[in-house]
Amino acid sequence: MAPLELIIELVLMPLVAFIVGLMMVLMMRRIAAKLQRRVGPPFFQPLYDIVKLHGKRTQVSHGMIHDIGIVMAMGGYIAAETLLPVPGMNGIAEKGGIITLLYLMMIPSLGLALGVGQCANPNGSIGIARALTAMLAYDIPLVIVVFGVAYAAGTTNLVEIIATQQAGGFETWGAVQMPLLAIAGLIAMHASLGKQPFEIYIAPAEIATGPMVEMGGKYLGGLFVMQSFQLYTTSVLYVSLFLGGGTTWFDFLLKSFLVLAIPVSIAYLFPRYRTEDLLRLMWKWPVMLGLIGIAFVM
């Protein structure tokens, strides 16, 4: 591949991810509004929020690590996007593979955790403690699912995983071949989004939005950017693993939005679990489904 072409891809992939991610945030808020019989925010609302937050006149910093944490939270996802193939662009997906991608997706959370830590607010620290606990909960089914898919495809290279699924049309999709893993993956993905009923680490009424408690202005803005990346990454990863990626941008985006709509529609109908209930739920059903799914694959 020509270096110039690669550079253009590396720039375009995060950019596309950001724009699609903003639209996903919008979709999420619109769905929530519809479920609550409201009108919901206007089309550009996610952008307004981010511009406003970055344009605040006074910004409260609790120290250098607070700043660096936000930079890591954004930068980690920007990097992760280049490992996630989209139609027509593979970026450096072949140089990392899915395990690396999963680990790169932990970098933003780690950065956020550091930044929140320096805020010296126990609400934030409790939030991070809970977020890490949630990660321990949903990552176990997630790695089972990833193992199953990678083992079935015989590779950790996402490009090849997508290619094998696209080879035989609908029948070779991961979701058709491995329905149990797909269900387990959906539950794990829902929990990884941190939406109700799994939003133990935001918990506005308990710990004052946990990690976000001391975040204002561009700090909160950075987290909004991170959220849009997170929605995009999670749903596109699911589409790549189970729904055959995308051959064209149209079906790629359609699938990504539809996949995301499932957990989001469920989310706003439920209150919040307690931490231990989340753990119990995650370690029971999706793990069981995933292990049975792997048994079928092997």
Partner: protein, 237 residues
């Protein structure tokens, strides 16, 4: 409100047309994305849920409730403010990031309302912090709240809502009123004066006799700077 009128209009010294467009854009976004911190002290709070939920739906205007003062743009005070409460309200206000706006809902914030005769209630909120908008009534209906918020949005878009600048530029006045109520050793953990210096928001009224009094009583609040400390002398033991 009266004090707001007296703010000298400072012309933005931006001649670059692009920068103007940029400022315009930021102002527009500010007006269309307002995060709300409701400090619900009295009966006015009951009118907010309908304003947020399906009947009136604030979110279509880009207004969302938020949890901590750091995240919020609007401080919504709904009802009487007792002296004890007022301390917390001021702290909360000072912790918010500028530009920030204060909305007083119900008569109590305008003039004490039915608590006029109470010894423990602060009557006029705008003596202690700049209020951008009052929504009078006992209590105002959600329509009125929405109407008021829309007015505020309009004023933010045109750049009129500058109460927050007034707090920095006339800090001495507000501090004086606060000291009258809470005593001379009144101090919040926030440091408004250095903040005003840092963001270049010093005005003629920032420093004065009351801030001088504050400096006498103030416990130091310099941020803990990151340092290696190899040059720092050990404290005498």
């Amino acid at each position: 409100m009266s004090s707001i009128k007296q703010i000298p209009v400072i012309e933005e010294k931006r001649t670059n047309p692009l920068a103007r467009v940029f400022d315009e854009l930021v102002r527009f976004c500010r007006s269309r994305s307002l995060f709300l911190l409701h400090y619900c002290t009295g009966c006015g709070a009951i009118e907010l849920p309908p304003a947020m939920t399906s009947r009136f739906d604030m979110e279509r205007l880009g207004i969302q409730p938020m949890v901590s003062p750091r995240q919020a743009d609007i401080l919504l005070i709904t009802g009487y403010v007792s002296i004890k409460t007022l301390k917390r309200v001021i702290l909360t206000y000072e912790q918010m990031g500028s530009p920030k706006y204060v909305i007083g809902i119900c008569s109590c914030t305008v003039n004490g309302g039915m608590y006029w005769q109470s010894y423990a209630t602060a009557k006029k909120l705008d003596e202690y912090m700049p209020v951008d908008l009052y929504i009078a009534g006992c209590m105002p209906r959600p329509e009125a709240v929405i109407e008021g918020l829309q007015q505020l949005m309009q004023r933010i878009k045109t750049g009129e809502a500058k109460g927050w600048e007034d707090y920095y530029r006339n800090y001495d006045y507000y501090l004086g009123n606060q000291q009258k109520l809470f005593g001379n050793d009144w101090q919040t953990p926030t440091d408004v004066i250095t903040e005003a210096k840092h963001y270049d928001l010093l005005g003629e009224g920032t420093l004065g006799e009351h801030t001088a009094l504050l400096e006498q009583h103030q416990q130091p609040l310099e941020a803990l700077e990151m340092r290696l400390g190899h040059q720092v002398k050990e404290p005498a033991e």
